[in-house]
């Protein structure tokens, strides 16, 4: 049984909860190596996502992610806006009109999201950005899909890999984004965007755990 629009909507709701819950934590991470607004940015962005979903409930997971993309793009107000906006938009395009998503579709959507982050931000792996959470997540999801695991397992693998990837940004020196202004002083702090990516992918896995599957066609 694959994942459908219910999963996507649940994911976005859990994302909004996570951003509200970790708002201060993300702000503090950003205070250390940025401008102390990432938690505020993400919280506002996901509140706008919820509002958008309420105003016009989506019919597919792709439509849900597209609505989220536009809300994030508009309302985040920081680098994370165009980055997550582009990521979710590319993921939505990857999902297309599908009503049920298997592990392969999930892995492809995550890869498309990651490619969106790269297209928008031109970062490379190891630059201490959200890309350092997205990339291992994509690889883990792809591996799970290749193994024949289900979508839930793929998302769980992705979430875990993103968490590990976010933690692995701690010793890195930032080469993109505001934190790059700090040079060597950026080492010893977790990248806020990598941390938020890990939270969002964990929400995706949680939403899939016991998800009711697609709405059928």
């Amino acid at each position: 049984m694959g994942l459908g629009v219910d999963w996507a909507v649940k994911w976005l709701n859990l994302s909004a909860e996570a951003m509200a819950e970790h708002r201060v934590e993300l702000i503090e991470l950003d205070r250390a190596i940025g401008d102390a607004d990432h938690g505020e940015n993400m919280d506002r962005g996901f509140q706008a996502v919820l509002q958008k979903l309420n105003e016009s409930p989506p019919e597919t997971a792709g439509a849900a992610l597209k609505a989220a993309a536009m809300a994030l793009m508009s309302k985040v107000g920081g680098a994370a806006g165009p980055l997550y906006g582009t990521a979710y938009l590319r993921a939505a395009t990857s999902l297309g009109d599908a009503f049920e998503l298997d592990a392969g579709a999930v892995a492809s959507a995550l890869a498309a999201a990651r490619d969106g982050v790269v297209a928008r931000g031109k970062a490379e792996l190891g630059d201490k950005t959200m890309l350092d959470a997205w990339t291992p997540a994509v690889e883990a999801a792809q591996k799970a899909a290749d193994n024949g695991d289900d979508a839930l397992s793929a998302l769980q693998a992705a979430a875990e890999a993103a968490e590990t990837g976010a933690a692995a940004t701690d010793p890195l020196v930032a080469r993109k984004g505001r934190a790059s202004y700090l040079g060597e002083r950026s080492a010893g702090h977790r990248d806020p965007g990598a941390a938020s990516t890990a939270l969002l992918l964990r929400a995706a896995a949680t939403a899939a755990d016991g998800a009711s599957g697609g709405t059928g066609g």
């Binding site: 793009m73 508009s74 107000g77 680098a79 165009p82 906006g85 505001r178």
Partner: protein, 129 residues
């Protein structure tokens, strides 16, 4: 007609002040400020920037628009807006210092320069003259 110019800054004050400053030397050029977030915080707003770019495209009536930005997230917002704009190919991002580049670009546009020339004028602006 002249090339239009959009000023994307994290701060509405910076964007407005830069437009005031450049207007002194380029009073016939359409300069549009797009600074700060929708809700008045420091940051950039996709919607504000998109609205500014569309206004500028309309006013430039085919002559094109040059977009100046301050920090990296403003660049990303501007690039996203370019993709969503009604005429993406008419939107030219300048890799230039915001205030200094704007004055140079505005003077070039006032002199009737084309969109590529205006962008180059912005990008050539270095230290204070």
């Amino acid at each position: 007609m002249t090339v239009g110019i959009v000023v994307v800054s994290h701060s509405s004050k910076i964007a407005e002040g830069a437009v005031e400053l450049a207007t002194q030397m380029a009073s016939d050029v359409g300069l549009v400020a797009a600074g700060g977030t929708d809700d008045g915080r420091i940051g950039t707003s996709f919607e504000k920037v998109l609205a500014a770019v569309e206004q500028s495209l309309a006013e430039a009536a085919g002559d094109g628009v040059v977009v100046l930005t301050d920090l990296g997230s403003a660049v990303m917002t501007a690039e996203s807006v370019k993709e969503f704009a009604s005429e993406p190919d008419a939107v030219h991002l300048a890799d230039a210092p915001l205030v200094e580049g704007l004055v140079a670009a505005a003077v070039a546009a006032q002199g009737g320069a084309g969109v590529e020339e205006v962008r180059k004028a912005a990008e050539a602006a270095g230290g204070a003259v």
